[in-house]
């Protein structure tokens, strides 16, 4: 369970959001919505503990994420705008690195996973030679090999076509059924049944008016 209490973020001299509170329960797929620049990425970065410039509290399974980082990070998978893929390594090596560093599933056929994300034939080329879309697919391959209950995905559908989105949505639903949490932002239309998807609206009027 992820619980946020009275989150307020001020960037330079602008209030991104104020007194934001919400709770996300296991088995939920949550989409953070809002216009560009409203602070979706900023919110994500504080939810995962990368940014500490905020007031308020964030709890994972009842304990503050700033206090018990290692416990939190064992259960967190984050996918940001930057892929986190090393261009001088191959997709295979990148995933192996991810496996060791994030204590992911070891007994899994990485070749199969890479074929799953549409990278069959690119497993052993250095990632620098791949297109931006293919590099994102390498990053997405992490979704198949991690054991984390909490997924925080910033624009996971970038450079993915309709049928690919459907595959990813299927994966999210399966993850939620097992008691996982998916937290995401996206500009694309999702085909997901709206009963499965919860939306949290960020910003809007409240955020726009407040200049300090």
């Amino acid at each position: 369970m992820l619980h946020c209490k009275m989150l307020t973020v001020v960037r330079e001299d602008r209030i991104l959001f104020k007194d934001l509170s919400f709770t996300i329960k296991p088995g939920e797929i949550v989409q953070i919505e809002g216009p560009n620049g409203v602070g979706k990425t900023s919110l994500f970065r504080l939810l995962i503990g990368l940014s500490t410039a905020y007031s308020g509290d964030i709890f994972w399974q009842g304990s503050s994420i700033d206090k018990d980082r290692e416990f939190f990070y064992q259960q967190l998978l984050y996918l940001g705008h930057k892929t986190g893929i090393k261009p001088e390594l191959t997709p295979l090596e990148n995933l192996q690195f991810f496996q060791t560093l994030h204590a992911a599933k070891q007994d899994i056929d990485l070749w199969f996973v890479l074929a799953q994300v549409g990278l069959a034939g690119y497993e052993d080329v250095t990632t620098a030679q791949l297109s931006a879309g293919q590099q994102r697919r390498v990053a997405l391959a992490r979704l198949w090999i991690n054991k984390c209950p909490l997924w925080v995905l910033d624009e996971p559908f970038t450079a993915i076509d309709k049928s690919g989105i459907a595959v990813l949505e299927g994966l999210f639903v399966k993850h939620a059924e097992k008691g996982g949490i998916v937290l995401l932002t996206t500009h694309q239309d999702m085909t997901l049944d709206s009963s499965l998807l919860r939306k949290i609206e960020l910003g809007g009027a409240a955020a726009d008016e407040d200049y300090v």
């Binding site: 930057k82 090393k86 560093l101």
Partner: protein, 229 residues
């Protein structure tokens, strides 16, 4: 407990291995700081004359200043690329302690930049007509001093990695911090060239190294948390 240690060490090993793998894939790039080091050292005899007595007198300073400059060139690589491609974020989100992982990165950095300096040091000793005792002192100070440089440098890079134009700023931060290493090392080499004992100075450097090994990783981790947020 045992499996935890094994996981810790395999993470450390993986970070080092991937750093080396990536660096070697760039081919001759990894030798550039060393070549820079050698070329800078050769400029001095060309600039001030080849009298062996004079060269031997100023050799410690030359070599250490050149080593500092070469190290400065290589620091950017430590976290900058990782910051740009996002793997630094992922490193920070790993369940392993960040201080531990960055020590692995610093160790890999030393293997790629400090160690080559040690390996080419005999060459420079001949260029600057050092005698064998002075050379041994030089080698020992480089052996102890270059890891300190890597650790200090990593703090500097961690502090500036988020800035768009961190390059020159990094030098401004780093050079004053490395003055003690420069002074103690050249003092030790000077003492050796007069046949005096320099154990005390080496011990001082060693103490700095141990302190740096223990404390710097935490400073690096904390700086990264500031830079990346």
């Amino acid at each position: 407990m045992k499996t935890m240690f094994r996981a810790l060490f395999s993470a450390f090993f993986q970070v080092v291995a991937k750093e080396l793998q990536g660096a070697f894939r760039h081919g001759s790039d990894i030798l550039n700081p060393v070549w820079f080091f050698i070329i800078v050292v050769t400029l001095f005899p060309l600039g001030i004359g080849t009298d062996p007595a004079l060269l031997e007198r100023i050799a410690p300073g030359i070599i250490w200043v050149a080593a500092l400059l070469a190290a400065l060139l290589s620091f950017e690589r430590l976290f900058k690329d990782d910051f740009i491609d996002g793997s630094l974020e992922q490193l920070m989100l790993s369940p392993f302690p960040l201080a531990w992982l960055v020590s692995a990165k610093v160790f890999a950095h030393w293997l790629l930049t400090g160690l080559p300096l040690l390996l080419v040091s005999p060459l420079l000793a001949t260029f600057l007509s050092l005698d064998i005792d002075t050379y041994i002192a030089l080698f020992l100070t480089l052996l102890i001093g270059t890891p300190i440089l890597s650790l200090f440098g990593a703090i500097g890079v961690a502090l500036t990695v988020g800035l768009r134009k961190g390059g020159i700023l990094l030098s401004l931060i780093m050079l004053p911090l490395s003055i003690p290493i420069l002074i103690f090392s050249t003092m030790a080499i000077d003492a050796a060239s007069y046949g005096q004992s320099y154990i005390g100075l080496l011990a001082l450097l060693g103490a700095m190294l141990i302190t740096a090994i223990i404390l710097a990783p935490f400073a690096i981790a904390a700086s990264l948390r500031v830079s990346v947020s």
